[in-house]
């Protein structure tokens, strides 16, 4: 047994079991802040002990950040012109 494993063993005993397989399924609950208090404590305990899940959570955050930064593309010129034209006719009020 490695030191990591011993720690997990102890916390499982004290706070109920949360496996890595459980952990990866509740990340969105965690990030949305909808996790009940004790579940969140358990989540943090697992996170503190498990390097694999720290890496995984980090990847999920990176995934979400990447999605949030997808570059915007301006519309094709003729579509843009048409919309601006429409705006001009709307404008006088």
């Amino acid at each position: 047994m490695t030191r990591e494993e011993i720690k997990i063993y102890v916390f499982d005993y004290l706070a109920g079991r949360m496996t890595c397989k459980d952990f990866v399924e509740v990340i969105t609950d965690y990030l949305d802040g909808t996790m009940p208090f004790f579940r969140r404590v358990r989540f943090h305990l697992h996170l503190g002990m498990c390097l694999g899940c720290r890496i995984y959570l980090r990847q999920m955050r990176q995934t979400i950040q990447t999605l949030g930064r997808l570059p915007e593309q301006p519309p094709p010129p003729q579509v843009r012109d048409e919309l601006l034209q429409r705006f001009k006719t709307w404008k006088p009020r």
């Binding site: 390097l51 694999g52 930064r69 915007e72 429409r86 404008k91």
Partner: protein, 245 residues
Amino acid sequence: MTQVDVSLSGSMRMPGHALPEETSTLERDSLSTREERHLLTRLRAGDEAAFASLVDRHHSSLLRLAMAHVSDRSVAEEVVQETWIGVLEGLDRFEGRSSLKTWIYRILTNKAKTRGVRESRHTTFSSLGSADEEGDEPAVDPSQFRTSGHWADYWSSYPEPWDEATPEKLLLSKEGAGYLEQAIEALPLNLRQVLIMRDIEGLESKEVCDMLGVSEGNQRVLLHRARSRVRRALEQYLEGGRKPA
């Protein structure tokens, strides 16, 4: 080993990490209330540049979201056009109870839904709104976990950490950004809708539930599934030796 600063408030920071972490509320180039009021005043005064910037900022996202409702590209383009017209028609009555962005997305969702229903009646898109992803789908391939002993369901080998600068580096290359777009397009419609609104557009969970008519719990399940799929896709890309330059 990496030390993690853990607090129970729900925020967590890794050391040496310069990116904003509060991703659940991360709004892409979101405007402050004051900026938005200013923009609204300019729009109502008929400021063309203000309208042009609004169109430039939202058009491609609106199209992406429309595609998640109607799937046919030309129909989606029409829906976006109709949305802009709807925006113009409603601009005078818009009271600013939600953000401008949310309001525009709501218009689009309504138009797209109407269109989707009409399409499914008249064409073969009967599978469109179907909840094709209701079954359980693990976030991670079960083969990555141990199968027996006390450590069953713990990692059999840890995931490979990604480059610290993953969002920037990946999106800098055209190939990387294109790959991500493909991964999003490959999602089933209901997963795609939620992912676009929540993670790409940064809308609030409540707003998204209202627009799509799903419960918060259901929405979170869809979002989690969508995120997990995109993560897997990025993992394949990043570990496939095709690391973005």
